[in-house]
């Protein structure tokens, strides 16, 4: 090869492979890698990093902004989250990611909102998060009221007429999700026969179960947003008392513990952000995750974390810039972004996205997807 041709070729390759205009931008993550939220934030971050590597390999966000990550552990402490958010905002991050919970997300959002930095909660499900902060705050995960709407639709389709909810005032999730559900179910003509209350972490559900057993007539189903360790204890004692009404649950019980409960878990129907049905995009992602890391993902949070950079990428591509206000508008106008668990839409929402939710049923120690749909906005109870 002549040196001239080599130089031309090298020059061409240089321009093709690395657009000289590429700019490095930083995404700040103030998330809980230790403490009580690590069960959700840790897997979310694992997925997030994989997506960032993939996007960088393709040339960056919108094809031109290479991503650097600034990751801070908030130790599940709201004050630490605020401090981390302040440091990240001061460092000039272009996008901020906050923990999987309303309180720290809202607190961190108060810092990034005035700085005009688009902010996403990793997997906070409380539908009031964006409105509590302002127009730069976005959710990504299926919201509590949307999950409730899908479940209520299922209950009605099953022909259930009467229901019972079990809730706990200890968290917004365990309290509001069953309440949203009752709202959606009665709006569609169902009737609630009553409700029970529990304390999170209580091992003993005998009192609640005795109350349900005393109902006459018995409810057609029991709905709860309880998760482990409460859910297994409740279910064991419920079935132990001879109550056979089907149980409807939320994404909190999307863990191997539930299927590990054996025969008593049969017939449970619950919502989840995504399920790797054969041939689905999520199944393919799980497969490539397993190849890359040697382990199967422990939870769907890996996938929902993985989707966030792609949502940002779609917005940056539309906006053509990382500029705060333009990016905010681009995110708010996103429609039907294809991600691994389905489709995500922000247009026409309060920035808690309208997105696909999966319903799964447990039979014989395994889950099976029975529905993948976006709830009808008219059926979703107002937050």
């Amino acid at each position: 090869m002549t040196s001239f041709r080599f130089a031309v070729l090298a020059g061409a390759m240089f321009f093709a492979a690395a657009p000289a205009l590429a700019e490095d931008i930083t995404i700040g993550l103030a998330t809980a890698q230790t403490g009580g939220l690590a069960f959700a934030d840790q897997p979310s971050l694992v997925g997030f990093k994989i997506a960032v590597d993939e996007i960088n390999a393709r040339g960056g966000l919108g094809g031109k902004y290479k991503i650097t990550l600034d990751i801070k552990d908030t130790r599940t402490d709201t004050a630490t989250t605020v401090q981390a958010a302040q440091e990240l905002v001061a460092a000039g991050v272009k996008v901020l990611i906050t923990p999987c919970d309303a309180d720290p997300s809202i607190a961190a959002g108060q810092i990034s909102q005035p700085a005009q930095i688009p902010t996403f909660t990793f997997c906070g499900t409380t539908p009031t998060i964006p409105d509590a902060v302002g127009d730069y705050m976005f959710g990504t995960y299926p919201a509590d009221n949307a999950q409730a709407a899908i479940l209520a639709e299922h209950a009605v389709a099953k022909g259930y007429k009467t229901g019972y909810i079990l809730k706990s005032p200890d968290s917004a999730y365990t309290l509001k999700l069953p309440e949203y559900f009752a709202q959606a179910f009665t709006k569609k003509g169902g009737q609630m026969l009553g409700e029970g209350t529990y304390t999170m972490g209580q091992q003993d559900f005998a009192a609640e179960v005795t109350k349900i057993k005393a109902l006459n007539p018995q409810p057609d189903f029991i709905m709860t947003a309880a998760y482990e360790p409460d859910f297994p204890a409740f279910l064991q004692q419920l079935r132990g008392a001879g109550i056979t009404a089907p149980v409807l649950g939320s994404d909190g019980i999307d863990s191997p513990t539930t299927t590990g409960l054996g025969a008593i878990a049969d017939g449970i129907v619950h919502t989840t952000a995504g399920f790797p049905s054969e041939g689905s995009k999520l199944a393919a992602f799980y497969e490539s995750f397993k190849t890359a890391t040697g382990n199967a993902p422990e939870t769907v949070y890996v996938a929902t974390g993985y989707e966030i950079p792609y949502i940002i990428d779609a917005a940056v591509t539309a906006a053509g810039t990382m500029d705060g206000p333009a990016l905010r508008d681009a995110i708010a106008n996103l429609k039907d972004v294809e991600v691994v668990t389905g489709k995500v839409t922000y247009a026409g929402t309060n920035r808690m996205p309208s997105r696909d939710i999966t319903l799964v049923e447990i039979q014989g120690g395994a889950r099976k997807s029975i529905l993948l749909a976006t709830p009808n906005p008219a059926d979703v109870p107002a937050p």
Binding site: Q203, A206, E228, P232, Q236, G240, T299
Partner: protein, 295 residues
Amino acid sequence: MDLVLQQIVNAVSLGGIYALLALGLAVVFSIVSLINFAHGELMTVAGYGMFFALAVSLPFPLALLLAVSVAVIAALLTERFAFRPMRKADVTGLLLTSFAVSAILRVIFQNGISARPKPVPLPAGLTGVVEIGSLHIGIVPLLSIVTAALSLALLLLFLKHTTLGKAMRAAAEDFEVLRLMGIKANRVIAMAFAVSGVLAGIAAVLWIAQRGSVDPLMGFVPVLKAFVAAVIGGLGSLSGAVAGGFALGILEVLFQAFLPDAALPYRDAFVLSFVILILVWRPDGLIPAPVSRRS
């Protein structure tokens, strides 16, 4: 009447677990004046022992044995490497050490094993119900009652009839005199930790049987309950710890069962208010230690 009987069974089974936990704290406190807040993490260790044993498909009884053994080993290791170097420290220093051990262990579980709960499935036979008359008694609560009673009886035999047991009781009364009698301090203290490890292991098995999973932060609630129970009973008093455990279990179940619906969310507030009343009535606990220490 049935409802009352049913609730009594529930109260005794929960009380039994709390008694085992509180006893684990009291055994150590009576000898080294340490409230070991890492006691909950010993339970978590036992839980992971059970999880890994079942994961390599060891038979269930062996898994239980392994769970208790790893709790004992963990108790001895924390004694040797964390608490022994701090033995000359005052009560506050020891307390902070136990918080540190607890925090370190939790982060090790989160980053070394998984931040996600790991399922510990019980054999199908254990999730059933026994019907006695019109009473439905779960097999797990029934086993809890039997196991707690057996463990307490065995511990009593050990303390009353073995040299090491007698030494431990003597140490609780006057450690210096015990040493003058030629008993090795390290052995007595290590033994106390080993006993607390056994109790934590057994309590962990019963606790996990109800929840079906083990997670890194699992030990927090039980150690808090154990601490409250030990205080009600009289810190440092072994029989007090048992009495306090049962008292707390009974209070919790009674309030849960008989509070009106509107007040149910405040159950814990009612329970703790009652605990305060008990302490106003008996500031040193239900059955105070021979040498009263309020920490």
